[in-house]
Every structure is written in C-alpha cells, then in structure tokens.
C-alpha cells in the first residue's frame, strides 16, 4: 500500500523524502516553539500570581489576547499584518526572507506565543495549588520575593504541572499543521502535495496519520517518563491526570484548580 511512497517524484526525490522533509519542519517548529512557549509561559504564569497589580494585569491581558484569538488568525497576523505595521525597511526585510524561513519564523513566533498563553495558565494553576504555608515559610526564613519564587514556589509548581503540560506538548505539534496556511511545507502540507501528485490520497494521508500517531505516542511516553522522574511523591501520576480536568470539580483530592482544557 505504501509502495508509491518509494517512487520518484517529478523533482527527482522520492515521495517519502517529501514526507520526511515535512516531518523535519513539523518537528523543528514544535521543538523550538515549545521552548519559546515554555519560557514565555513561565514568566507570564508567574506574573499572574505576583502581588504587583500592574504586572498581574499585564500578564492577564497577554493570556486573554493570545488564548481568545484562533491560532490561524494569529498566524495571519504575524505573517501578513506585522510586516505592514512595522517601519518600511524592517517590514520589507521580513517580507524578503527566502522561502522556507519567511514562513517558518512567523509560524514559530505565532505557535510559541500562542502556546505560551496556555502554559501560563497551567503554571498559574500549579502555583495556586501550592499551600500558602510554602510562601509563608519562605518569608519566615528571610527569603526575598525573587528567591521565594526561584527556590521554593516555581520548582514545586513545575513538578506538579508536568501531567497537564503533556497535553500542551501534544497541542503544539498538532498546531504546527496550521503553518501550512502561510506556505510552510510541513507534514500535512506534504501529504496533501503527494496526494495531488500521485492521486494516492489514501496512502499519502495514511502515512502522515501514522507519523502523527507515532509522534503522539513518543510525546506521551516521554512525558510519562519525565513525570515519573520528577513527580512529588503522593500526587496523581500523569497517566491519570492527562485527561480533562474534571477531577478537581468532583473529587475533594484533585490537585490543580481550573484552567485545564483539552487541546487539539
């Protein structure tokens, strides 16, 4: 059934090479996007919990904006709108980036900042789930606000939210497919191209689906491993916690409040 993938395409490569190059872009986008999202999300998430009203409001504004605009619209804003709004020279420089990079960077920024808003909510939920005594004990020991977050709050919160970060990891690699709308030839785009070139739609989409399934499995398994390594003893294992967050509405023992949604 997958024989056609090993035939030569019009450009001399085999179709499977198209798929693999698509996979490469998907992975690159998901991987680097994830680190942007994690860094920004951590900062914004912490920002939502600090005493300073100004910072908390800004962090909240960030989350509201990036969570409530569809990722596809955000993609268009970064790709079409931003270069027009920047000063002419800079805008033109962006527009003249050579083909894959001209779509890759907007897609990267878009996915990173979009996912960051979601991660920020998880980070906030993790921080709020910690008992108040942790902060108070840190203050009693004479730690400054910064040190409290750096050594006490954030390390524990991050360990708590590993299970819910799993769904964000699975979300970002699936959202990479949105980049095809601004012309990045990632996995889904390549699958469509192969199906148009060979008329073997079943094979082309089937292969892409299998690859996505494999990615999902790898992402899930590695998050379970990470969770096992860093879990705070006594909290729910990732396997049970990845599901939609009803647990805390229903069971008295749920560890994290709200903000947990299913991601696609």
């Amino acid at each position: 059934m997958f024989g056609v993938l090993f035939e030569q395409a019009a450009d001399g490569q085999r179709y499977i090479d198209w798929l693999l190059s698509g996979l490469g872009w998907t992975l690159a986008l998901a991987f680097f996007g994830w680190w942007i999202a994690f860094a920004v999300g951590l900062v914004v998430g912490i920002g939502r919990t600090v005493q300073n009203g100004m910072i908390a409001a800004l962090a909240r504004l960030y989350v509201e904006i990036f969570r409530n605009i569809p990722v596809l619209v955000q993609m268009f804003l970064w790709y079409f709108v931003l270069p027009e709004l920047l000063p002419n020279a800079l805008g033109n420089a962006i527009k003249q980036m050579s083909p894959p990079w001209g779509s890759f960077f907007p897609a990267l920024v878009c996915l990173g900042l979009y996912t960051a808003a979601r991660i920020a909510e998880q980070v906030r939920a993790g921080i709020e789930a910690l008992p108040k005594g942790q902060t108070e004990a840190a203050h009693a020991l004479g730690l400054t606000g910064y040190m409290t977050y750096r050594y006490v709050i954030v390390p524990q919160a991050l360990r708590l939210i590993v299970p819910s970060l799993t769904s964000e990891v699975m979300g970002i690699y699936k959202n990479t497919s949105v980049a095809l709308t601004i012309g990045l030839m990632e996995l889904t785009a390549q699958a469509r191209q192969i199906s148009e070139a060979t008329f073997q739609t079943f094979t082309a989409f089937g292969a892409a689906t299998l690859i996505y399934l494999g990615l999902a499995l790898i992402a899930y398994q590695s998050m379970v491993l990470i969770d096992r390594a860093v879990r705070i003893p006594g909290t729910t294992p990732a396997k049970d916690a990845i599901e939609p967050r009803l647990a805390d509405d229903v069971q008295p023992v749920g560890s994290l409040p709200e903000a947990m949604e299913v991601v696609k």
């Binding site: 569809p70 739609t201 696609k264």
Partner: protein, 231 residues
C-alpha cells in the same frame, strides 16, 4: 507604514457578517452533533461493551492525536467514498466543502466531548448507582434521570470552554476555501488589498466573542456548582 483605513471594513461588513453567521452555525451544529455522539461514545466505553467499546476507544485516540486540518482533508476525501458505498452505487458522491465541514467538526468534536463526559462518568459517586438500584430504576432511567444530569452539570464549564475552542477552530475551514468569518475576510482582502485592516478586524471580533464567552463560563462555574462539591 501605510495608513490604515477602517472605512473599508464598514463597506465589507455585510459579507463579514454572513461569514460570522456561518462560523456560528458551524459551531452550533458541531456542538449538537458532538455532544450527542460524544455522550454515546462515553457511555459505550463506560459500559465496556466488548468490541464496539474498543473501536470507539481507538477512534478517539486516533482523532485526538492528529491535527484537525489533516482530519478535514481526510473527511473531504473519505466521506464521498463512504456515502457512495452506503448508497450502493459504489461511486463516490461529492458532497461539497460545506457538508464536509459540518460532518467533520461534528465527528471530530465528538471525540473531545466524549473524553470530558467519560471522565465525568467515572467521577460520579458509586452511591448514586447503588441508590438507583435500590430504587429499582432501569439502567436507562438510571443514566437518563440520575447520572447524566449530574455529569453534564459538573462538566458544563469544561464542555463550554471546549465549545469556545471549537468556535475558534472553525476558522480552520479556511483550508477548504469556505466562507466563514476568516474566509470572508481573506477573500475580500485579496480583492481590495486591505489585508491589514481585514485581519485586524477579524482578530478583534474573535477576541471579543471568545473572551465574552469565557467570562460567562467563569461566572456560570461559580453559580452552578453543585452544593457541597465546590472547592
């Protein structure tokens, strides 16, 4: 930087409005199909029916691990073929992008809603089932009158947040060249070249609707928590 001219948006408004109506209709249809099908899926798994339970489980795992855009492409290609076989002619029946969108979103969302409801079902206290047995309610009545109402109530904030995500995701029908809100804006933008104004307005409309809806969900969550279960 070129000057912005939002008067163009006023002229375009009727067209954008019809696009927005399509987005909302798609959201509503997907919600209805997704919730009814999703509830069935969840129940099938909850009862651990032999073969069909596994099939449903596999379907949900599959749908949840591939991107919506790929699912849209799959259905655009598969649905006509399946319909052709069902119709007996064996020839694909083209159904057009609009119907594809409705069917895809319904079936796709069913997987997500069913997960929410399944977890909700698991969280129902055993005593509720035992009480129903003690009252000699049939299985149907147990679920219809006792279990599902509680599950839906407890899960309603998550179901509604999922619906807001669904509303945002309907913008992806752009890849089928349909005229939803974003599709309308992008078609106009190609005609009049005012990309910046069009996309900014679309972003603001989505932002307004989604954040208003999120606020409603947040206040609902406070008001409708079942007494005693709220944290």
């Amino acid at each position: 930087m070129n000057s912005l001219d939002f008067s163009i948006v006023l002229q375009a408004w009727p067209y954008l409005w019809s696009g927005l109506l399509f987005s909302l209709a798609l959201t509503a249809a997907a919600f209805v199909i997704g919730m009814s099908l999703g509830t069935c899926f969840a129940l099938v798994q909850h009862f651990e029916l032999p073969v069909i339970g596994r099939v449903v489980r596999g379907y949900i795992a599959l749908i949840r691990s591939i991107p919506l855009i790929l699912v849209l492409f799959w259905f655009f290609f598969l649905v006509p073929i399946v319909l052709g076989h069902l119709g007996g002619s064996g020839r694909p029946i083209p159904i057009g992008a609009t119907w594809t969108a409705f069917i895809t979103f319904g079936l796709f969302e069913a997987a997500y809603y069913s997960e929410i409801i399944r977890v909700g079902l698991r969280a129902v206290n055993r005593g509720q089932f035992e009480a129903c047995q003690a009252l000699a309610l049939s299985t149907f009545d147990t679920y219809r009158c006792v279990i599902l109402p509680q599950v839906l109530r407890v899960a309603s904030p998550i179901i509604l947040s999922q619906t807001i995500i669904l509303f945002q995701d309907t913008s992806l029908v752009y890849v089928l060249s349909l005229t939803d809100l974003l599709g309308a804006a992008s078609k106009l933008a190609q005609l009049n070249g005012r990309l910046v104004e069009m996309y900014l307005v679309v972003a603001v409309v989505y932002l307004g609707i989604s954040s208003a809806a999120s606020q409603c969900v947040a206040s609902l969550r406070k008001r409708y928590a079942i007494a005693g279960t709220h944290r």
